[in-house]
Symmetry: none
Subunit: 252 residues, 2 copies
DNA sequence: GCATGTTTTGCCTGATCGTGCAAGAAACAG
DNA sequence: CTGTTTCTTGCACGATCAGGCAAAACATGC
């Protein structure tokens, strides 16, 4: 097995799982742990991952948010949501993809052989898409906000205005039938609103903890949601409310 | 068996498997490993594959390119260059940082306690900076080009025009006293020129292999370079030429 | 046919790189 | 605190590499 091959497999697993274990890689590759450690050290030096005791995790922006803050359960759940969300896509579409860990999972779940045009203001989403040769990637620039992992501001709004999407994967901070989709940050909400305006349809993938909650800044009404991707365990009553507003519900 | 025949078979297997092993090819073709190595070397020179220890892999999609296209030595060398380049900075400055592996190394080398405003069109540079709380990061959006790892195009130019920098870390494809700084790609060169225009000073960090070489598209004249960061082993004659054009030379 | 020059190939040599092993240091868990 | 796991460092061995050299294959011109 080529050294290069191992490096690629490590990158792949990092993109998929967000982490790798030194011992596990060693037995999978049939080499000593020392060799794996050397591989990890090199990749870390090249900035492609962050070394931690026992293995490595994806380098920012995934890692910090994906692994340390969230429970493992949430990661798996989001991956499931992402797989279901990707089912809404068809080749040749153009998309807006918003920031947030769920949307990053969606970006990672996009199949490598699907041709798409994707505009995003999230560095995490963009990073997940860089090695998809069939994806035309438009980065929506602007002032980067570390807490959000996305770009916002006047420059971002100007860039959004130049793009039209068939579908918008909206990252949601709060989702309530009465309040609609809401965000915690004013500038963030502004960008989301611009994306809504330039999209033919809106899709939202959320974990249960976001359902029936609201944040200060309004992005869109509940009736604007076309597709809602939720966990199987989502409360039926809440879902029925959204369906009555015209949303299609998809289970992960 | 014709040389050309072998080359075609190698290309075929690369397209199918993504990798080839020197020893395996030798026994399959019934030639010595040396011959296979020569084949691989030629194909690599023509950019049709990427040579690695033990064989070769399909030439690089971005992720692989960033890291491994370069030898271990190059990574270390670039890290050294980066440390020296960071020495040019002082707190409170605003910077343009261009794409390229050397500039990504510079971004990683920026101290965590330094306050800076940084605009970049490179996803790699941006990713390296996301967890630096004191860095105000401006992402220059646009159409993302996988081969370059940067955003280019009209949107990028518009974003560059809105920013002014004290210093511009220019990624150089070719650097020659007569031809100046040159790039391989037309759109890339255009963005670089816009950054040059909006910067008070230009800094370039290069490994020896870029010195005294040129690419098709001109970015700036040699006299525009204020700081040139080079390896200790850089040829003195070449450096003297740049110094006579007004560049300060810094050794890694 | 024959001589000459070029290209290709295999082998050799010294150098480099990747790997596993061992010892000591460091990080973690109880 | 103690014991365990993981990590780094140094070392040795084998695999792989680039460059030089000479023989063989091939092309070219007379």
């Amino acid at each position: 097995m080529l050294t290069e091959e191992r490096h690629q497999l490590i990158r792949d697993q990092l993109a998929a799982d967000g982490k790798v274990l030194a011992g596990e890689l060693a037995s999978r590759f049939g080499v000593s742990e020392d060799t794996v450690r050397r591989d990890l050290r090199e990749l870390a030096k090249a900035g492609q991952l962050r070394r931690v005791y026992g293995g490595a995790v994806a380098s920012a922006p995934f890692a910090a948010a994906t692994l340390s803050q969230r429970s493992r359960h949430a990661v798996e759940e989001k991956t499931r949501l992402a797989r279901a969300a990707v089912g809404l896509l068809s080749a040749g579409q153009s998309l807006f993809i918003d920031g947030g860990t769920t949307n990053e999972a969606i970006a990672r779940a996009i199949p490598r052989d699907m041709e798409l045009t994707i505009a995003t203001n999230s560095l995490g989403v963009a990073s997940a898409l860089v090695d998809r040769p069939l994806v035309e990637l438009i980065m929506l620039g602007g002032r980067y906000v570390p807490n959000l992992g996305t770009c916002v501001g006047a420059d971002t709004l100007a860039a959004v205005a130049q793009f039209g999407a068939d579908l918008f994967f909206l990252g949601s901070c709060g989702l309530d039938v009465a309040r609609g989709v809401t965000a915690f940050d004013s500038a963030e909400a502004e960008v989301k609103r611009a994306m809504v305006k330039n999209s033919a349809g809106i899709a939202i993938a959320v974990t249960n903890d976001k359902l029936a909650t609201a944040a200060p800044y309004r992005v869109a009404g509940a009736d604007a949601i076309r597709h809602l991707v939720v966990e199987r365990t989502a409360p039926a009553a809440t879902l029925a409310d959204f369906q009555s507003q015209g949303a299609q519900v998809h289970f992960a």
